[in-house]
């Protein structure tokens, strides 16, 4: 019994940690309509700032005030001005991308300024231990639990008592309505970002003080991820529900780890790390479906002109020649390792295929997936395990199993709003990365994938395997372009442009979404399998969730609506990860600021657009002609339509 009490107290404290970050998320969302993936990163920067001040002999309490009440509000105002104002009311993929970009740039900055790990701990604000119900609790834990409860109570009062609170909540429901009522959505959104930043900073400093280990950039930035589940439990609206969700989740994690995990033993991978994400997925599935509405918002994005069949074949031929020339520089076998140039070439092709899957998914269909790298990992795993590794069957299964898995994930979640769907893919990616891949029976530190050997043809040499990857990339690119020119491509774009019209012409949006997600997952699985055979050995770290998120940003920065964009994203990503790892996040983040301004990415900028084969359709058009005759449309129409089918 005393053990149970101890677990309960531990669970409540852990739950308070979740709640304190989750309520901050809810505040930003309700006030600005933006789900801030960078919430934890803001807290991380605040923790480093606090640490800097304290090491320069500023008293703890004063440092706290400076960071939380001075720096954080300024930061909130700045971010709102620089990025968020342009996105008010944007229902597309950009708000998610911009906050992910903010996450990337803050992590990038922290890596450059402070390194990955400070090797130093923060001393808590208050010291000492108190016994509660016979359980020893540090004073710092009590401060956190108290703050979580106090913040939840204060926000609840703020949101429900004052005019400000009512106005704040109205922003997310209908910014236009609010504007007509005389309140400025921009002012509300700014207030929201100030409040959100203050809460993020407070949480960051408190949680950094609680951490027994040294200050770690990634740990701090992604600490809030576990809070996602609690925030979704509160439907991103209700502060009390979010607080309760955090506590329940904390208890569940502690109970599961203490009672269930020991009995599961070596049956399956250690799931306790993945539990918050499983919770998140479950909470998402429990949400109501998005209601189909005619919003009358016309997509005015400039689309790229779709390359015709001959154009894409010619481009593919030219690409093959370049690939052949590059392959001449490659020597040696996969087992013996390859040059840096060889690694960059291989990675460009493998990431390129993932990029193409994102063109299909994000660019055409408007669905944001953050779990393509997880499918890559699964593909590599299958490639390494099926028939002892390196078999063609493994390659095939990597694509098929990932597609099936993709369909399974999409089925219960495509009916949700775009943001929730993205969160579901994030939950899956995180669960795979933290809970499943590290198991030594899955990927662990390293899994030997093996090389494909066909009768008379071995892909054991670096040159052969690169050519295999290049061929796969070219074929995938041709496939994606062909899909875009086909009925499916028109449907995907139509679905993104107007879901209401899509349904009222008799097309099933849910089915289309599941299908395209499955195809994209299959492509990512294939890319993972190929990545595996080119690398020889892969480990969990090859499919890092944060790297996967940053790669999505790369594609969006270059232009997610073109095949050229996917290729350039893969190339720059492969180069940067080898040349300047810390620059990867900085590039993605800086690029995303740009995307806030030009929605089509780098390739959408006038002069640059002309450098690639895929031109953007101009906004200018011929002058409107006369209406002509309306007569003659009906004659013989029915018979012809049937014949055409």
């Amino acid at each position: 019994m005393s053990q149970f009490l101890e677990f309960t107290v531990l669970g409540l404290i852990l739950g308070s940690v979740y709640a304190i970050s989750a309520t901050g998320l809810v505040v930003t969302y309700t006030t600005s309509g933006v789900f801030n993936f960078a919430h934890g990163a803001v807290g991380m920067i605040a923790a480093y700032g606090y640490w800097e001040l304290v090491t320069h002999h500023v008293p703890g309490a004063l440092a706290m005030v400076l960071v939380v009440l001075v720096a954080a509000p300024v930061f909130g105002v700045f971010i709102e001005w620089l990025l968020m104002r342009r996105l008010l009311g944007d229902t597309g993929e950009r708000p998610v991308m911009v906050t992910l970009g903010l996450l990337a740039i803050l992590i990038g900055l922290a890596l450059v300024l402070f390194g990955e790990n400070r090797g130093d701990t923060l001393s808590p604000l208050v010291n000492g231990t108190i016994r509660i119900l016979g359980v020893g609790v540090t004073a710092q834990d009590l401060v956190i639990a108290g703050s979580a409860a106090a913040i939840a109570a204060a926000l609840r009062v703020l949101f429900h008592s004052f005019r400000l609170g009512v106005a704040l909540r109205a922003v997310v429901d209908d910014p236009e309505l609010l504007a007509t009522a005389g309140a400025s959505p921009v002012a509300m959104s700014r207030t929201g970002w100030v409040l959100g930043s203050v809460l993020a900073a407070l949480a960051g400093v408190l949680l950094a003080q609680q951490q027994q280990t040294s200050l770690d950039t990634y740990t701090l930035a992604l600490l809030v991820v576990s809070g996602f589940a609690a925030a979704v439990f509160g439907r991103l609206r209700s502060v009390p529900l979010t607080y309760a969700g955090g506590l329940v989740l904390g208890l569940a994690v502690v109970y599961f780890g203490s009672y269930a995990q020991p009995h599961l033993g070596t049956l399956g991978p250690d799931l306790s790390a993945a539990l918050p994400m499983i919770f998140l997925f479950a909470a998402l599935i429990a949400l109501p479906s998005v209601r189909l509405r005619a919003v009358g918002r016309l997509s005015t994005l400039r689309p790229p002109r779709v390359a015709t069949g001959w154009e894409s074949l010619i481009a593919a031929g030219a690409f093959c020649l370049v690939a052949l020339a590059c392959s001449m520089t490659l020597t040696g076998t996969v087992a013996g390792g390859t040059s840096s140039f060889g690694v960059i070439l291989d990675h460009t092709m493998a990431y390129g295929i993932v990029g193409l899957s994102l063109v299909l998914l994000v660019g055409y269909a408007g669905q944001v997936s953050l779990c393509q790298f997880a499918f890559m990992g699964i593909g590599a795993f299958l490639m390494g395990k099926v028939a002892g590794g390196g078999s063609l069957l493994g390659l095939l299964l990597a694509a098929v199993v990932c597609a099936a898995l993709g369909a399974l994930i999409a089925l219960p979640t495509v009916r949700l709003r775009g943001l929730y769907f993205t969160l579901a893919t994030f939950a899956f990616a995180d669960a795979a990365y933290t809970g499943i891949f590290p198991d030594t029976r899955v990927l662990g530190q390293g899994l030997n994938v093996g090389q494909i050997v066909l009768p008379g043809l071995s892909f054991g040499s670096n040159r052969a395997v690169f050519l295999l990857l290049a061929a796969a990339f070219v074929l995938t690119a041709l496939l994606v372009l062909a899909i875009r020119r086909s009925l499916l491509g028109r449907r995907l774009v139509a679905l993104q442009d107007s879901p209401a019209a899509y349904a009222t012409v008799g097309l099933n949006a849910a089915f289309t979404k599941v299908a395209v997600f499955a195809i994209a997952a299959g492509l990512a699985g294939l890319a993972g399998a190929l990545y595996g055979t080119a690398a020889g050995t892969v480990g969990t770290s090859d499919f890092d969730i944060f790297t996967g998120v940053v790669f999505v940003l790369f594609v969006v920065v270059w232009s997610v609506r073109t095949v050229s964009g996917a290729f350039l994203a893969a190339l720059s990503f492969a180069v940067l990860t080898h040349v300047w790892t810390n620059g990867v996040g900085l590039f993605a983040g800086a690029g995303i600021v740009l995307v806030g301004w030009t929605p089509n990415g780098i390739l959408g900028i006038g002069p640059l657009a002309r450098l690639v084969p895929e031109r953007w359709i101009g906004r200018r058009h011929r002058a409107t002609g006369d209406a002509g005759s309306l007569v003659g449309v009906v004659d013989g129409r029915e018979g012809e339509i049937r014949a055409a089918g």
Binding site: L292, R293, A294, V295, G296, L298, S299, T300, L301, R302, P303, T308, G309, W310, E311, L313, A482, R485, S486, L487, R490, R491, V493, A494, Q496, D497, S498, A500, A501, Y502, A503, T504, V505, G506, L507, N508, A509, A515, I617, R619, H621, R622, T624, G625, D626, A627, G628, S629, L630, V631, G632, V633, V634, R637, E638, E640, I641, A643, A644, G645
Partner: protein, 289 residues
């Protein structure tokens, strides 16, 4: 055009043919606001039925109820004798209900032609390999522009539909870059591409000039003569009076009058509710686009 029905009918009599759509006692509430309270009306095959009323009367809401974008709080909607309750919008469309939108819902990044193609191809299911293959590029489209030369029937049909609504020569324009009037006609062509039995038009005339709206009227009469049921929401009284066989007047979510155009013009309740404002298409600001 079928002759106007005998005057002074108490209940909606069907001017031409069997009723295709029947709306019975439909009510819709948004929080405290009642957008529709107990609305009943029917639309007959081979006729144009008008639905008029001042801004905020609930016309668009009724369209949403029929096309499945809005669940009614009470009442039933039957189409060709089938109860549509809880049927999702795409299945209603497959039964033969097409619509246009007052606030445009185009596939904005697609060209006008592709907008219509999506409608034309909407009946193709993924297991229909032959039809599917015909729609895939490598079947006839490797040379891109050759599609038209090779006589792709879907493309030529799409172009004919566009020409039919007066948009010949505008096929390759991005639809969101078109002027409102033309964009409305793209929506109309897309709806016609589905060969609907019931066509719901939400203010198709706004954004058209006099000449164009006359052509629109001719087209609607022709569609009705071919057996289609058309339900027309329109503020342009001239157009409504010219093409409609019956007109229902909606005010504050109630049907306040039903009858032939002549009866409606003469009805005093209608005059106060609606025509009290200067007639001939004049309307308060804020509605339409």
């Amino acid at each position: 055009m079928p002759p106007a029905d005998a005057p002074a009918a108490e209940r909606p009599a069907h001017a031409a043919g069997r009723p295709v759509l029947e709306v019975r006692g439909v009510a819709v509430h948004f929080g405290g606001v009642s957008a529709l309270t107990d609305v009943s009306l029917s639309v007959a095959a081979g006729s144009v039925t008008g639905l008029i009323g001042p801004n905020g009367a609930g016309k668009t809401t009724l369209f949403n109820v029929v096309s499945g974008l809005q669940a009614p709080n009470s009442g039933t909607v039957t189409f060709e004798g089938r109860d549509l309750a809880r049927m999702p919008p795409h299945r209603r469309a497959r039964l033969g209900i097409a619509r246009t939108f007052q606030r445009l819902e185009l596939f904005g990044t697609l060209t006008a032609e592709d907008n219509v193609r999506v409608g034309l191809e909407s009946s193709i299911r993924w297991w229909q390999w032959r039809r599917l293959r015909a729609s895939f590029p490598w079947a006839h489209d490797v040379s891109g522009d050759g599609a038209r030369a090779a006589g792709s029937r879907v493309v030529s049909l799409a172009d004919r539909l566009l020409a039919g609504v007066g948009l010949a020569g505008h096929e390759d324009q991005q639809s969101s870059a078109m002027p409102t009037g033309n964009a409305r006609m793209v929506e109309l062509a897309r709806a016609l591409a589905m060969q609907p039995k019931l066509l719901l038009l939400d203010e198709p005339g706004s954004g058209l000039d006099e000449h164009e709206s006359e052509a629109l009227g001719t087209l609607l009469l022709q569609l009705a003569a071919d057996g289609m049921a058309v339900l027309l929401v329109e503020h342009d009284m001239e157009l409504v009076m010219r093409v409609c066989d019956r007109v229902h007047v909606l005010d504050f979510g109630h049907v306040v009058a039903s009858g032939s155009p002549d009866e409606i013009r003469a009805d005093p309740r209608v005059q106060t509710a609606y025509l009290g404002a200067p007639s001939g298409g004049a309307r308060p600001p804020g509605g339409g686009r």
